[in-house]
């Protein structure tokens, strides 16, 4: 059954239009890679889903129109966001960051620290004093604490050391195997995206230009739209 449905989505920053017709469908438990070169509308699509910018077109979660909801209610409906650039609550400790976001459900402090052990080791440490990788894990943990049905990760491994990136990818693989959370991924690493994603959607100049199973993504397509 379709969880997230986007059809002909348009969005603008003031007078500057950024999305011209994005189409995307996700089922519960499915991992989808949202791909495209820089500036093609990936992060804007995420912002539109989370109602952080105004948009038009079809945007539903479990059949409910998200356009009628403010940002915090979209999150309450089950959309968890790991924003670009980590953005933890710097003055709070790791534990407090997680508790502040907690909502009732399967994801508890214990389960999150089990998935991301580094967070467990640094529970009493202030978020501002964590390394970039640890902050990223905290951002993922914080999003999971909201008990999302759809988890969105916007450039979650950007600028991180290879060993930390591997940890994050391993956590995402575990998430896919052990839970029914749908995951929308934006990342530059095609190799890692291909390994974990079921489907791919490619954006070009604010439009969906290709979508299909990850296995159907050929070199011709990636060469044409992603330049790799």
């Amino acid at each position: 059954m379709t969880l997230l449905r986007i059809e002909n989505l348009t969005a603008s920053y003031g007078v500057s239009q950024a999305l011209f017709g994005v189409d995307l469908e996700m089922a519960q438990g499915e991992v989808t890679a949202l791909m495209g070169r820089n500036g093609m509308g990936k992060s804007t699509t995420v912002k539109a889903i989370c109602r952080m910018i105004r948009s038009e077109g079809v945007l539903t979660l479990d059949g409910q129109d998200l356009h009628t909801l403010p940002s915090h209610k979209v999150a309450r409906k089950g959309v968890g966001l790991v924003p670009e650039g980590r953005r933890c609550f710097a003055d709070l400790t790791v534990r407090e960051n997680l508790i502040a976001a907690a909502r009732s459900g399967d994801w508890t402090l214990r389960r999150v620290t089990e998935l991301l052990p580094r967070l467990g080791e640094r529970q009493g440490q202030r978020a501002a004093s964590l390394s970039g990788g640890e902050q990223q894990m905290l951002a993922i943990g914080r999003a999971l604490m909201t008990n999302p049905r759809l988890l969105i990760l916007d450039e979650a491994t950007e600028g991180l050391a290879p060993i930390v990136r591997q940890e994050i990818w391993a956590a995402l693989r575990r998430l896919k195997q052990e839970t029914n959370v749908a995951i929308l991924l934006i990342d530059k690493s095609l190799k890692e995206l291909a390994a974990v994603s079921d489907r791919a959607v490619i954006l070009e100049r604010g439009r969906t230009v290709w979508s299909g199973a990850m296995g159907a993504l050929t070199h011709d397509i990636t060469g044409k739209y992603l330049g790799v």
Binding site: R87, F89, A90, A101, A102, R142, T146
Partner: protein
């Protein structure tokens, strides 16, 4: 030497217990009255510390709630002492001299005022929030000046202090005990609130409201709840302050008082549990001891405040603990 904040907090509570007892034994009732004043101002500042320290909202209009609490006490006690009915439009009622009822009315009325002011002012932030809260405070100030029924500019005198079951509230030490017990209750509430999911979310809102929304929290609702709670506590302090002086006047609404409450918090340490308490004790001590030497004691207070802002951003507690931030 760096001190643990918990020891400082413990020492403060011990001092607030021991000093009045010493004053009682040494027959120094004025010292007890001074300490009562400090404790009441601390109570008001703890209320403000919820919005300022945890929520990062610089309210320059908290004197409005302090004044509302004061006038709630003054009006109820006035009607009780004059045996006249209190006309509330739809119905009339009697006044009361019973402290718990007065506190409840003070907290409800100031909480209601805070919800109204908060709904309008919390849509703004930064300097606009400061200005709009200041404007509301001044509105109440000028309203009280023109409220001839309750003394207008001259204020309202209450002849006898209000009653508390089982206590002689006219005895300074017993009234101090009431104020101290209420301060301890509110401090316990503050500590619990700060560590609760609500307090953490409020703290997170101070840091980044947009990010808070992405985890399903409504920043406006969080801030409004904090503002109402803060207003109600400050209103309670206002009722006690009016009871201490047995007098209410429009000065309780003045913007200077709003500023003083902020100063108390900055002196002690913004967002710290005992910051307002230390700030209030230092403030009252300076007011008394320096005030005896010179009429210009505010100049020295200004210098101290300047030094704290420049060299010790965590307030006096920050200086003693070596930690700038309120977060341990």
């Amino acid at each position: 030497m760096r001190l643990d904040e918990r020891y400082i907090n413990g020492l403060m509570i011990a001092g607030l217990l021991a000093l009045p007892l010493w004053a009682l034994v040494a027959d120094q009732p004025f010292t007890i009255t001074l300490m009562t004043r400090a404790v009441i101002l601390a109570l008001a500042a703890v209320g403000l510390n919820i919005v300022l320290g945890i929520g990062g909202m610089v309210s320059f209009g908290h004197a409005a709630f302090f004044g509302i609490g004061g006038y709630a006490m003054g009006i109820l006690a006035y009607h009780a002492q004059t045996y006249t009915a209190l006309d509330l439009g739809a119905f009339t009622t009697e006044g009361t001299k019973f402290m718990p009822v007065i506190w409840l009315v003070a907290m409800i009325t100031s909480g209601l005022a805070a919800s109204f002011i908060g709904l309008l002012s919390l849509r703004t932030s930064g300097v606009y929030f400061i200005m709009i809260t200041l404007a509301f405070g001044q509105m109440f100030f000028y309203f009280a000046i023109s409220w001839a029924q309750y003394g207008g500019e001259d204020g309202l005198s209450i002849y006898v202090r209000n009653d508390f079951p089982g206590l002689n509230t006219l005895m300074p030490i017993q009234f101090y005990g009431i104020c101290f017990a209420l301060l301890c209750l509110v401090l316990a509430l503050f500590a619990r609130l700060q560590a609760s999911p609500f307090g953490l979310a409020l703290n997170a809102t101070r840091q980044a409201a947009v990010r808070v929304e992405t985890v399903g929290l409504n920043p406006m609702r969080l801030k409004l709840l904090a503002f109402v709670l803060s207003g109600a506590i400050t209103g309670l302090a206002g009722a006690l302050f009016a009871d201490l002086n047995r007098f209410v006047s429009p000065t309780m609404f003045s913007w200077q008082l709003s500023g003083e409450l902020i100063v108390l918090i900055v002196i002690g340490g913004v967002g710290r549990l005992m910051g307002p308490v230390i700030g209030a004790c230092v403030y009252v001590a300076l007011e008394h001891f320096l005030g005896e030497i010179t009429d210009f004691w505010h100049v020295y207070l200004g210098v101290i405040l300047l030094c704290i802002v420049l060299f010790g951003r965590g307030g006096l507690i920050g200086l003693l603990t070596g930690k700038e931030g309120a977060h341990v």
